[in-house]
Symmetry: C2
Subunit: 230 residues, 2 copies
DNA sequence: CCTAAAAACGAACGTTCGTGCTATTCTGCC
DNA sequence: GGCAGAATAGCACGAACGTTCGTTTTTAGG
């Protein structure tokens, strides 16, 4: 009946919800998913607490929706552009490059959303923690598949343990994000990029040139709001 | 006058303070430094809120004291035993080994205290964040000096950038802690240990045997309270 | 043993949090 | 253009937070 119409003309509520979540995601990346307070979020969006609250029904559901919204942004900003590259080593390299761009250019104001969220919830069992863990597993799987593809294409040595390599790449990424957030150390990204490149060299079958995919992500900055550098 | 006496016979207040901080450190490693609530801490120690509060004067001071207490434990459990090893490569290796033991055996209930704390406060300027950042810099410096010593002893190639290597080691450690806390993935530690070992092999001048310092830290478990495995 | 100081307590304050109601305003379809 | 239903606002609640204050208990030196 009205399902088609409802889907076509997006109700106002859906638009509000989306607006709220956009703000929520950035707020949460700075203050944490718990520091993300309904009152604060209402003030930031110009809504009333109760009006905003009605969209979600509970704080936990708001947090869950925020995590999912962050996931969508991550997919849009990192996964999708990286998947434009050819399967195998090129895609793996671009996944890394774009991830570093993503973390360094503050796609989320407080650095990598999921690095922050997983640290916050890693000792608190529940739906939120599970969702975050699932998303991180997705990411590790994306890395792993890129590696396996590269192996099948003969670009990476078959002896390499894909899970091991994915773990190491992810650790360097998280380490870089950690150093940037805690110290404001931008060099950490240079170091992490170099470490990943070097690591790929040790297990690649052919040459791995240094600057192969750097020019790629020169589309617009992802956020319009200029960040005045902390 | 009474200074000597006061110093010798430790007043009861100091003992209480220490007891409180011991509990606080473990609570904070699980719930976060903000989740560390005065009421909860009072309940856990069997004190009254106000009685406990008087020891610190403000929540921020309690948090700072907790961070310092965690630092002392870290020094006692990681730095000091590692410094029993010979300067240079042996000490560097033992620093890594013992760190992995420290994180894996839950010296703090919620995994590495400082990994959790730095993620929590990295976007919140203030005294606490500064203190945590200083402590992490201390740790990176300890690693760096161990590397430099190893270079001066001719055990590590002089071309190696000590800061870079320290960064990579730290990233792998944090990555392992992250995977253990979020997924309960114990294998992550095997992977991180292997990665560190392999990384050391690439820059060492001589052989780097696999099991050199594993038998070392077979002193008692550091916490008496058995952790039922999450 | 006595006593001054130190330590711990109990109750309360002012805020802020998440959440539940009820009323009001707005939207989009006939 | 009116009307059902969705969206939002207003208000109040109970709980938990950090903090204060006056009182009571405990401690340790003379």
């Amino acid at each position: 009946m009205k399902t088609a119409a409802t889907k076509a003309r997006r109700a106002k509520g859906d638009r509000s919800r989306q607006t709220i979540l956009e703000v929520a995601v950035h707020l949460a990346s700075v203050e944490g998913l718990d520091g993300l307070t309904i009152g604060r979020l209402a003030a930031e969006t110009g809504m009333s607490k109760s009006g905003l609250f009605a969209h979600f029904g509970s704080k936990e559901d708001l947090q869950l929706a925020t995590v999912d919204a962050a996931r969508s942004i991550f997919i849009e900003q990192v996964i999708r552009p990286a998947f434009e590259a050819k399967k195998g080593l090129p895609r793996l390299r671009r996944l890394c490059e774009i991830w570093f761009d993503y973390a360094q250019n503050h796609v989320f104001r407080g650095g990598c959303f999921f690095a922050a969220a997983s640290a916050e919830f890693d000792s608190r069992p529940g739906r939120i923690r599970d969702r975050i863990a699932d998303i991180m597993k997705e990411w590790l799987e994306v890395l792993r598949w890129a590696i396996v593809d590269a192996q099948e294409a003969g670009q990476i040595n078959l002896k390499v343990d894909a899970i091991q390599l994915a773990f190491e790449i992810n650790a360097l990424e998280i380490g870089a994000n950690w150093a940037l957030q805690l110290f404001g150390d931008k060099q950490a990204f240079t170091r992490a990029r170099a470490a990943v490149l070097e690591r790929l060299r040790t297990c690649a079958t052919g040459r791995v040139s240094a600057r192969a995919s750097l020019k790629v992500n020169r589309r617009r900055q992802t956020r319009s709001t200029k960040q005045p550098r902390r």
